[in-house]
Symmetry: C2
Subunit: 241 residues, 2 copies
């Protein structure tokens, strides 16, 4: 059985040529030729079965043969907002895994105790696209630029909003239990703090903006594992079985 080849082509139905990097991959790595079949993913819910109409050293033109509308496999949107860890590789693998597991939006936060205050979102975007292709996701998660914590929480958002933290003096509900009692269609936004946690003032400010105080359970998790488990909990609560 021939492996199906997938390429990420935003707005694929209005184009007839693979973007530069995808063309390189198709032509130089996979050595595809005119007449070969491929699948295009627009990242917005549609796959296209296409055929290479012409291939040169750098350009790969295609004709679409069939439009394949995809069904989303979970309900409601899952938005993870997380303070990036000091070590970039931990954020990178978390991004890859969250994309495979399934989520909709990723925002990096700049917090009071942040150990990292810049992040190359172009690298993160590449990892997302790679994981979208590898795991054949019909929707590409949105990656947002690093955002100041207070700007983030003061932006209006649909659905339920949660902030995970470790302060015993503030009551915390269990995130997974709460999510399982939430209608599947409702959007969720989950905030995960830096290695040194959110400051207690940040937690209180978020609560005043409608964020619910939560815990991910009794396990002591690293930042990136907390981000991953938050997405896993949301996905397991919202997926269609």
């Amino acid at each position: 059985m021939k492996e199906e080849r997938y390429f990420y082509v935003p707005d694929a139905s209005h184009q007839n040529e693979l973007p530069k990097e995808e063309a390189q991959h198709a032509l130089r790595v996979l050595r595809m030729q005119a007449g070969d079949e491929m699948f295009l993913m627009d990242g917005c819910g549609t796959f296209y079965q296409a055929e290479i109409s012409a291939a040169s050293t750098k350009h790969c033109l295609y004709n679409i043969r069939q439009t394949l509308s995809q069904k989303k496999t979970w309900n409601g949107r899952i938005h993870l907002a997380i303070a990036p860890t000091k070590m970039m590789d931990r954020m990178e693998w978390m991004t890859e895994k969250c994309t495979e597991i399934g989520f909709d939006e990723l925002t990096f936060l700049r917090c009071q105790f942040s150990e990292r205050t810049t992040i190359r979102t172009d690298r993160i975007e590449k990892i997302v696209v790679g994981a979208v292709k590898q795991s054949r996701k019909a929707w590409k998660p949105i990656v947002n630029e690093l955002t100041k914590f207070s700007d983030f929480i003061h932006t209006p958002r649909e659905g339920r909003k949660f902030i995970a933290h470790c302060y015993d003096e503030i009551d915390r509900a269990d995130l997974f239990q709460t999510l399982q009692q939430t209608p599947q269609e409702e959007d969720v936004t989950i905030l995960i703090g830096p290695e040194g946690d959110f400051s207690i003032e940040e937690v209180r400010e978020a609560i005043s903006q409608g964020y619910e105080s939560i815990t991910l359970g009794s396990s002591r998790l690293r930042t990136e594992t907390a981000g991953l488990m938050a997405v896993a909990m949301a996905q397991l609560s919202k997926r269609n079985v």
Copy 2:
């Protein structure tokens, strides 16, 4: 507040000296001295509050001040048996994350389509110990040597046994739904195949040995992500809230 220092000392109550590597860490990295407080983890359910009684360049002796029996935070045992991926780093991070999330035993499998047929379990063991300390787990997961698939499935095991695979022609139940309907105390063993999946003969052989055919859901997951999600599903089904 002073950070609490944790050290892994198997059989800690019958010893009075840190193992070599732990002593090095305490003395050279953390620069601890006689009189300093520390916590010992025996990996079998007990922490000990201890004090350094004597410290030389290479030796770190301790006196135990208090025995702190821990309560397990989940019910039943979670055993993941997985074919190692070609890239070792993927198995290493999976091991770290599964330890943080919480599981009891890890076995590497040698399967028909395995891309990797050797594994340095000493490295994996070190990662487990590091994650046990970092996430303050009272029980250290057991790491087993690489085992032949057929030997593994012919070994009797308590509880429910599952094999995840991608063959449409064999009925598959949803693992998470099944786990949520299973008594928490029941042990679970979950098999995850290599990049090229188990062979269909392996799946049938496992089923004949009482393994239940399962899927992790509609997402197409890499091997290491499948291992991680299997552990996450078991943990979320078995944890005490």
